[in-house]
Amino acid sequence: MTSPLEQKKIKIAGPSVVTANRTWDGIVVYRTAAKSWSADLSEAAIVRNSDEAKALLAESVADDVGAIGPYIAPVQVGADGKVQPGNLREQIRRSGVTIGQPAQV
């Protein structure tokens, strides 16, 4: 996992969000513009340059009771404004495992 410390020199290649895991239950959450966390990617604050990313990350790191391990993750924003995860890892974090879970199959 990439720790926020390693991301000190923040460079982003495109639209990004801050994501983490909610402290009490561990589920995947995204930092919102309202300085809170949401399990819904569409509610995530989107940052588009390094300064914005840095500020959003700093604020997220400070909210240590809310969520743990925050880091910047790429997203794709469609023409319709719809936000999608920017890579496979984030896709899996959002949509869950790519395999059937035994208790369900």
Partner: protein
């Protein structure tokens, strides 16, 4: 079975209330994640992609049925109805909520199960042969010694803050089912000329980024001296071990850099220094531990009961028996391996229903005892041969009678990118696809013994280096790419596999494995020549040619 004493029980209960308090303080914000992380890791709690992951120890892989039921209960109540058996005699739950973890730990503590030594830079749970105590030809039950080492090292300050995690495995059979050569310390139980119990001590094995096969450091250490000898190894390691660099901190690196001769000299010096009578183990201590391992009251049974003779007419039963049933040290009994590798399923997973139903079968047919092995399968250690047909029918109903033990679909795979935050690529879907490709058990039998191991990153939790065919997932330009090795093995002749060429894409992995298998079937001199033997005879070249000729 093994009966814990009062001290252990008190310790386990204290740990639960301590952790409950820590979780409370964490959730209230009194503890930061930085402060809490080391505490949760000491209790087996990792953070994964979707949730916290909770790893529970199954010491030397032995479980009683009340413990198996408790695991089923945790899976059902606090998780999503299943658990994942790992290669190190642990079980992992993938969807645990931090707020509920203290309750889960408390429920497990009631049956003596805990999560100590499943993570962190300490002495991990000592693993052993899953057939310990029942394998024919075994010198002595290795779990007695696993337990001795466990007692000595649990929470021992010198072993709790090591440069890195530390893993020990013990075997007492010629055929090594505990993979001792890929552990930090591997112990092979032997007898000297006087008939006294002792160990060949191997050191410096491990996989990960820099894989090494363990080397023998001493050919015989007397049983009564084994603790002081291990302590001497750990002292040398503690003194030299690289705490500054996480990748170089394992003992395998130290052994490699110092060389085995120098390392053994250092250990020998240290050992002579600390080896005083107070560190010698009294016979009574060993006898006390020995007396806590109880064996069932076996009956005198025929070698070939009528039930078995009759069932032999059923080819489905025979297919299962041939792969899953192994000889037992007591006549009339067998060791039964339960495959957790159903066609299309994730390797090593078991549902709460399966665990509960299995617990009933274990009570009925295996004197209430079940084992967990490093191949991510389970074993029933004491099944009367006359019960085999009935057991098979019951297992089959539960989806637990896949006749593929030790065959190509008996795949070891780590959680990979579906669960693991460190992963570069997925492992489980690759395993699933391979089990579908080779779902024809006749074909799998024709191929014979062939182990496939898959890891989703270089940490090598799926032991890909020692797979007959090893598959390592890496990431290249945002895409999953898989490197294929052949010729590795994890047993007494442990060896690291050789890379056959450039990595291949997710969709191609199963095709590549098919090519390798086809090449093997064409190249083998006779049906008894196993894949490993063909690779040894011919090297990787012909396989490489076959795989890359058309790619």
């Amino acid at each position: 079975m093994y009966a814990y004493d009062e001290i252990d029980r008190t310790l386990v209960n204290e740990r639960v209330s301590e952790f409950r308090d820590q979780v409370k303080r964490r959730l209230s914000g009194e503890l930061t994640e930085d402060e809490f992380k080391i505490l949760r890791l000491q209790n087996g709690v990792y953070l994964q992609l979707h949730a916290y992951m909770f790893r529970v120890a199954i010491p030397y892989g032995t479980l009683a049925t009340n413990q198996l039921r408790a695991l089923a209960h945790v899976a059902r109540k606090y998780d999503r109805g299943y658990g994942h058996f790992t290669t190190r005699q642990n079980i992992q739950f993938n969807w645990i909520k931090l707020a509920e973890l203290p309750d889960a730990l408390a429920d497990l503590a009631k049956v003596g199960i805990h999560a100590m030594q499943t993570s962190g830079n300490n002495m991990r749970n000592v693993t052993s042969d899953q057939w310990a105590g029942v394998a024919p030809g075994e010198i002595e039950d290795p779990r007695i010694w696993s337990e001795l080492i466990r007692q000595h090292t649990t929470l021992h300050p010198e072993f709790s803050f090591l440069p890195r995690k530390f893993k020990i495995a013990i075997t007492a059979s010629d055929h090594d089912r505990a993979a001792i050569k890929i552990h930090d310390i591997g112990l092979r139980l032997i007898k000297n000329e006087k008939g006294e119990t002792g160990f060949e001590v191997l050191v410096g094995g491990g996989l990960g980024r820099t894989p090494f096969i363990a080397k023998t450091i001493k050919h015989f250490v007397h049983g009564r001296d084994i603790l002081s000898y291990i302590e001497a190894i750990l002292r040398v390691y503690n003194q030299y071990g690289r705490r500054d660099n996480i990748y170089k901190a394992r003992i395998k690196i130290l052994v490699h850099e110092l060389g085995i001769e120098k390392f053994s000299r250092e250990v020998e010096d240290e050992w002579q220094h600390i080896r005083n009578p107070s560190l010698q183990i009294d016979d009574e201590v060993i006898e006390d531990i020995r007396s806590r391992f109880t064996y069932p009251a076996y009956e005198k049974l025929p070698h070939m009961p009528d039930e078995l003779r009759q069932a032999a007419a059923d080819p489905d039963f025979e297919a299962w028996r041939k792969n899953s049933v192994a000889p037992h040290k007591v006549q009339g009994y067998s060791i039964v391996t339960i495959s957790l590798k159903p066609t299309g399923g994730p390797p090593g997973d078991a549902t709460a229903e399966q665990m509960d139903a299995l617990a009933d079968l274990v009570d009925k047919y295996s004197f209430g005892e079940i084992r967990v092995g490093h191949e991510q399968n389970l074993a029933l250690p004491h099944v009367a041969k006359r019960d085999l047909p009935a057991l098979w029918k019951a297992l089959d109903k539960l989806g637990l009678a896949t006749p593929n033990v030790n065959l190509i679909t008996d795949i070891i795979a780590c959680p990979g990118l579906d669960y693991c935050s460190l992963a570069n690529a997925r492992s489980i879907p690759i395993a699933q696809e391979l089990t579908r490709r080779f779902a024809n058990h006749e074909l799998a039998n024709l191929i014979g013994r062939l182990h496939i191991n898959i890891s989703g990153c270089i940490n090598a939790c799926g032991h890909h280096h020692v797979g007959h065919i090893g598959i390592l997932g890496v990431e290249k330009n945002g895409e999953e790419v898989y490197q294929i090795t052949i010729g590795g093995r994890a047993d007494e002749n442990a060896a690291l596999g050789t890379l056959i060429g450039p990595g291949v894409k997710f969709d191609e992995v199963a095709d590549v494995v098919e090519d390798i298998v086809e090449a093997y079937l064409a190249l083998r001199e006779r049906p008894e020549e196993l894949f490993m033997d063909t690779v040894r005879r011919l090297g990787v070249e012909p396989f490489k040619e076959r795989v890359y000729a058309t790619r």
